[in-house]
């Protein structure tokens, strides 16, 4: 069964606006990762945040992690039409503790030009 719950399931915004997606999970984790998927193709890794980190930035992406609330958010600033995709959060363990990622259901983002 899926561990993560993502909110919203779908988000439609105009180019230039910011997009915020939320993810909640159930069990303790060592890291949380965000992936992007275009039209059912393979997933692309966006950013990884460790359990002892609270915020991380990568270009126009900002990820926060609140382990007390078991939640994370992904913010995409100044969105572009090319950001249109599905975004998934996934929780993981240390490499030597078992490798599987547990994925959320995803947020489908549509950025209109």
């Amino acid at each position: 069964s899926q561990q993560g719950e993502e909110d919203p399931q779908a988000l439609s915004i105009q180019e230039g606006e910011n997009a915020t997606m939320n993810c909640s999970y159930k069990t303790s984790i060592n890291n949380l990762q965000w992936y992007r998927q275009n039209s059912g193709r393979g997933l692309v890794h966006l950013i990884l945040i460790r359990s002892n980190e609270r915020e991380k930035h990568s270009g126009r992406l900002r990820v926060t992690l609140d382990t007390s609330k078991k939640s994370s958010s992904l913010l995409i600033t100044a969105s572009r039409a090319a950001d249109t995709a599905s975004y998934f959060c996934a929780t993981g363990l240390f490499y030597n503790q078992g490798g599987k990622l547990i994925f959320g259901q995803g947020t489908e983002l549509s950025v209109k030009p």
Binding site: Q33, G40, R41, L43, L48, Y95, G99, L101, F103
Partner: protein, 116 residues
């Protein structure tokens, strides 16, 4: 360098037939994973190989599903006596122990399986 490759990209089969899906991980990656994604859903973990350790098969949905990894590289996922509910996109991913101990995974393009 080359990423994770999977073949075939699409597979249409009849209910009851067996299928084999292939994955070539990134060279040097010792960990290999299989996931599947049903329409409109997130990815569901199936099986995980790490070096010479026994695989983690905890996600395999039934005994019709099996996977092997030969020579620590290429992996084959086999589905026997396919059912319509097996229709999904099957993804392979690999990762490296050099990722600082954290498990960033690199995904292949997937194999879309349709069972008629």
């Amino acid at each position: 360098g080359a990423g994770v490759s999977q073949s075939p990209s699409n597979k249409v089969t009849e209910k009851g037939k067996d299928v084999e899906l292939r994955c070539d991980p990134i060279s040097g990656h010792t960990a290999l994973y299989w996931y599947r994604q049903s329409l409109g859903q997130g990815l569901e973990f199936l099986i995980y190989f790490q070096g010479n350790s026994a695989p983690d098969k905890s996600g395999l949905p039934s005994d019709r599903f099996s996977a092997e990894r030969t020579g620590g590289s290429v992996s084959t996922l086999t589905i026997q006596r396919t059912q319509q509910e097996d229709s999904a996109v099957y993804f392979c991913a690999s990762s490296s122990p050099t990722s600082g101990g954290y498990n960033e995974q690199f995904f292949g393009p997937g194999t879309r399986l349709t069972v008629l």
